[in-house]
């Protein structure tokens, strides 16, 4: 599989529940970023975690990075209907300059 694969591809939860999305990648990275995309819209940066970091928080978001397993997870706590969107992980590899490599994304639906 390619660099940056999200799991699951689709997730449906009730408002108030937590949503966890996972991302795996193949090569060494400089950092890993999570982006959100509302249907038909542009990508919005959520959070960046560097290769020497293990966990990062931003509001209701928590990101973890396990470089030994080449994986990351994004946790959205206390989800809201407005969180409904696609979520993508993207990696910046050590040798790829400034290129982001995106995964296929997780489509999250939060039901009110």
């Amino acid at each position: 599989s390619q660099q940056g694969e999200e799991d699951p591809q689709a997730l449906s939860i009730q408002e108030g529940e937590n949503a966890t999305m996972n991302c795996s990648y193949k090569t060494s990275i400089n950092n890993l970023q999570w982006y959100r995309q509302n249907s038909g819209r542009g990508l919005v940066h959520l959070i960046l975690i560097r290769s020497n970091e293990r966990e990062k928080h931003s509001g209701r978001l928590r990101v973890t990075l396990d470089t030994s397993k080449k994986s990351s997870s994004l946790l959205i706590t206390a989800s809201r209907a407005a969180d409904t969107a696609s979520y993508f992980c993207a990696t910046v590899t050590n040798n790829a300059g400034n290129m982001l490599t995106f995964g296929g994304g997780t489509r999250l639906m939060v039901k009110p």
Partner: protein
């Protein structure tokens, strides 16, 4: 809040025609990018641009594609002779001095090639 703006939001063109997609990056940013997303597929890197030259490009960015920064504000992507498979959403992005940091994306230009 500063934002990346793209025009047009949607363009329909005939196969073989030239298309220019325009972007105005965030004013103090120095790195500029084009990505594309074919419907239902991943976001793919096309090209990055810094200091008035291409710094990196993907295999997708062949001789049919070119980029230009004609003045101090615009950043354009030109497709010389469009093919059906060029139909996609094209996203412009910019970033500041930190080339491995956060990218700011525009809302995209949807290109439909008939």
């Amino acid at each position: 809040e500063p934002e990346v703006t793209q025009t047009p939001s949607h363009q329909v063109t005939q196969m073989g025609q030239e298309v220019i997609l325009r972007c105005v990056p965030i004013s103090n940013h120095l790195y500029f990018y084009w990505y594309r997303q074919i419907l239902g597929q991943k976001v793919e890197f096309l090209v990055s641009f810094y200091n008035n030259e291409i710094s990196e490009k993907s295999e997708i960015f062949d001789d049919q594609f070119s980029v230009e920064r004609p003045d101090g504000s615009n950043f354009t992507l030109k497709i010389r002779s469009t093919k059906l498979e060029d139909s996609a959403m094209y996203f412009c992005a910019s970033s500041d001095l930190s080339r491995t940091g956060e990218l700011f994306f525009g809302e995209g230009s949807r290109l439909t090639v008939l």
